[in-house]
């Protein structure tokens, strides 16, 4: 039974679902819900980025730019033009897909760090535009964003809802919504990885030459995954904006891009659950380090550096490896 489960394709998803739905049993503080919601939405973007970095082995240093475009497009359309949240989110995602395709297609034919340079530039250009177009975006001081609405029904952290006859607060409702979104994001990502397209992507990372000689058009798959990961970021950005209620260009900043890719690498490239752990750790760490005041930055850098030096494969793969080794050792002892 256990062995069967451990081979199950979606065991990570099941595990994640248990965590997501069990968490409300342990927390009741609205601040913690808020934090968890935020982590879930960012983790969703990181799952998308992992498709690019972890599976296709391409580095994006500008992913926050796509996150920002998603958020700002939704903010502008919903607050200035009276659009509903879902069409704004969808059109924004299509726009981001087009930008990503236009940038990625010519660049991804090349090997090496060229994509990281191009994405760095795109991320910066987006941040500069968001910062300068004050009329539209409110400039560096940011702009408010209305609650998320579906057919006239609004999801607000300040609201009160009833679900299956239970009264739940807006914070909990948002948390559950974000949790379901994250599960969906993981499910889609898992499906993608476990498919001919997913194999083609992984082969680009594993051996681009091998991929091409069996007929994989590597450039095409690289642009495809780049677009998909950008769309993930865009959608999560829009939701994040609705949740926060107020956005500033810092969500499109280079710092945030770096944070996103750090989550991927720290959690474990190529491991969907791992990168979510990366997101959780890197979002909680500043909350914990906040008490260190002046030393916060130094400690953050130190922890990041040491973790990566001693666990270059990331948190989850290293832990899994360790457990496997122990298990096989004890199994060996039995035999």
């Amino acid at each position: 039974m256990m062995a069967q489960f451990s081979r199950f394709r979606l065991k990570g998803l099941v595990f994640l679902a248990i965590v997501v739905f069990a968490l409300p049993l342990f927390i009741s503080n609205p601040f913690h819900y808020g934090l968890a919601t935020q982590i879930a939405l960012i983790a969703g973007a990181v799952v998308g980025l992992n498709l690019l970095v972890g599976f296709a082995g391409q580095i994006s240093l500008g992913h926050a730019g796509f996150f920002g475009v998603g958020a700002y497009f939704s903010a502008i359309m919903t607050s200035n033009y009276g659009w509903s949240a879902i069409p704004a989110l969808v059109v924004g995602a299509i726009g981001v897909a087009i930008i990503a395709w236009a940038v990625g297609r010519p660049i991804l034919r090349l090997k090496g760090h060229y994509l990281s340079m191009a994405t760095l530039a795109v991320g910066f250009i987006i941040a500069i535009i968001l910062n300068n177009e004050r009329e539209l975006t409110g400039g560096p001081d940011g702009m408010p964003m209305p609650a998320f609405d579906v057919f006239g029904w609004e999801l607000s952290v300040f609201g009160q809802y009833s679900l299956f006859g239970m009264d739940i607060s807006g914070d909990l409702a948002w948390y559950l919504f974000a949790g379901v979104i994250l599960l969906a994001a993981v499910w889609l990502a898992q499906n993608l990885i476990d498919s001919p397209i997913g194999r083609a992507l992984r082969s680009v990372h594993g051996s681009e030459v091998a991929a091409s000689v069996v007929g994989v058009n590597t450039a095409k798959y690289k642009s495809l995954v780049f677009v998909i990961s950008a769309v993930y970021a865009s959608v999560m950005g829009a939701l994040y904006g609705h949740f926060q209620g107020f956005i500033t260009p810092s969500i499109a900043s280079f710092d945030f891009s770096i944070l996103l890719i750090t989550m991927v690498v720290l959690g474990g490239m190529g491991s969907t659950i791992g990168v979510i752990i990366g997101a959780v750790v890197l979002e909680l760490l500043p909350q914990v380090l906040a008490d260190f005041q002046e030393m916060e930055m130094m400690l953050f850098g130190l922890i990041l550096m040491l973790t990566m030096i001693f666990m270059p494969k990331g948190l989850l793969p290293t832990a899994a490896n360790y457990l496997n080794k122990r298990r096989s050792k004890s199994a060996g002892g039995d035999a």
């Binding site: 927390i27 001081d141 810092s250 002046e294 916060e296």
Partner: protein, 386 residues
């Protein structure tokens, strides 16, 4: 040193352990003052003196017996100038730390990101940020201590007009402070009439050379004076480039650089420039009958003695914020949030370092443009003009 670290580490471990569990610590005794400031990051020159001020006066007030016979407790987080972090910390202060009042928000972005949360939770919030949007339109629970950037713009433009300078070249930083200041300057100029912005240039917060922009302004037809709206090291570089280019036009800066640190950075190049500022920089030039004089002198002496560094206008915003909070709590006679808010809104004639506050339901800032004094740099020091 090491002991301190381990102690802190164990404290953090305890917090982390408590981590996701509800922390319903009911603050029976102390009055909890929450704060989130940009102590690090690009706006650290705001948050750093602000935090120091809050820390030292909370200490001082406690030594003197506290407020309503209760001690004050400062709960502080560093938002590093990042609005998302600010919102998170505001949420943590309100919902987890359950503070009674918030004094904080170094930047407009941080303040605005936290405002919806504050409004919803119904907790008095005194912001230390400058932009006019914070209190205009009025938000029920949000107050602020610095004069608005609109007032600064009006004050500067008025001084220019008095000197017969009507064609202004504007240069501003692209950060929140500069870009809001730019907008308010443009709006103020068109509202006042008789003064015209003939050039409009910007620079990034971490740019290292503004010669090109200044050359452009110098080349603009008829320009009579130049105003720079920005903060951080940028304005100091603008000032130096200004001197290097040998531009002879009268030069103005905003209140964003009203600190002695700016004079150190800009050096001789600052000679002759004017800016609107709090009298904090020139306490000795205030007339003896000025009601602000004792307050300003006391703050300056105490701050400089305690921290061994020069006082800055920004720290004074925190001083005023804390003192307003204390007065409101005393007036309300409790920490009941609605009562404190009402008391805050009805404060009249509160003499602070920044100016004299007269709050009202229509005005959650309570300051007049006249509370800005025009200073000029003369012989490497500040000189009160009017």
């Amino acid at each position: 040193m090491f002991k301190k670290i381990t102690r802190r580490a164990s404290k953090v471990a305890a917090i982390a352990a408590a981590g996701l569990l509800a922390m319903n610590v009911q603050a029976a005794d102390p009055i909890r003052i929450g704060s989130f400031l940009s102590v690090t990051g690009p706006a650290s020159f705001l948050g750093d003196p602000e935090l120091k001020t809050l820390e030292m006066y909370v200490e001082k007030i406690n030594k003197e017996g506290g407020v309503l016979g209760r001690q004050l407790e400062l709960v502080h987080y560093d938002d590093a100038g990042n609005a998302s972090k600010a919102r998170n910390f505001a949420s943590r202060l309100i919902r987890s730390d359950r503070v009674d009042i918030i004094v904080g928000g170094s930047t407009t972005g941080a303040t605005m990101a936290a405002a919806p949360m504050v409004e919803q939770a119904g907790i008095p919030f005194i912001s230390l940020a400058g932009a006019v949007v914070i209190t205009d339109p009025v938000k029920k629970w949000v107050f602020k201590t610095p004069q608005t950037d609109r007032m600064a713009a009006e004050r500067v433009l008025t001084d220019m007009k008095e000197r017969g300078l009507t064609k202004v070249g504007l240069i501003s930083g692209t950060g929140g402070f500069g870009s809001s200041g730019r907008e308010q300057t443009l709006a103020a100029a068109s509202a006042m009439g008789g003064i015209e912005i003939v050039a409009d240039e910007t620079y990034g917060g971490s740019d290292t050379d503004m010669t090109a922009q200044l050359t452009n302004i110098r080349g603009t037809d008829g320009v009579q004076t130049i105003l720079n709206f920005g903060f951080g090291q940028g304005p100091a570089i603008v000032t130096r480039n200004y001197a290097q280019l040998g531009i002879e036009l009268p030069f103005y800066q905003s209140h964003g650089v009203a600190s002695d640190g700016f004079l150190e950075l800009a050096g001789n190049s600052a000679e002759g420039l004017r800016l609107p500022a709090s009298p904090l920089l020139v306490p000795e030039s205030l007339p003896a009958d000025d009601p602000q004089k004792p307050v300003v002198e006391a703050y300056k002496t105490e701050y400089e003695a305690r921290w061994n560094s020069k006082v800055s206008t920004f720290g004074a915003y925190a001083y005023d914020g804390l003192m307003l909070a204390v007065e409101a709590i005393e007036k309300a006679g409790s920490t009941d949030k609605a009562a404190v808010r009402d008391a805050l809104e009805s404060i009249q004639g509160h003499v602070g370092v920044t100016g004299t506050f007269n709050m009202s339901p229509e005005d959650h800032n309570g300051l007049e443009a006249e509370s800005f004094r025009i200073l000029e740099v003369q012989d490497g020091g500040w000189k009160l003009i009017n």
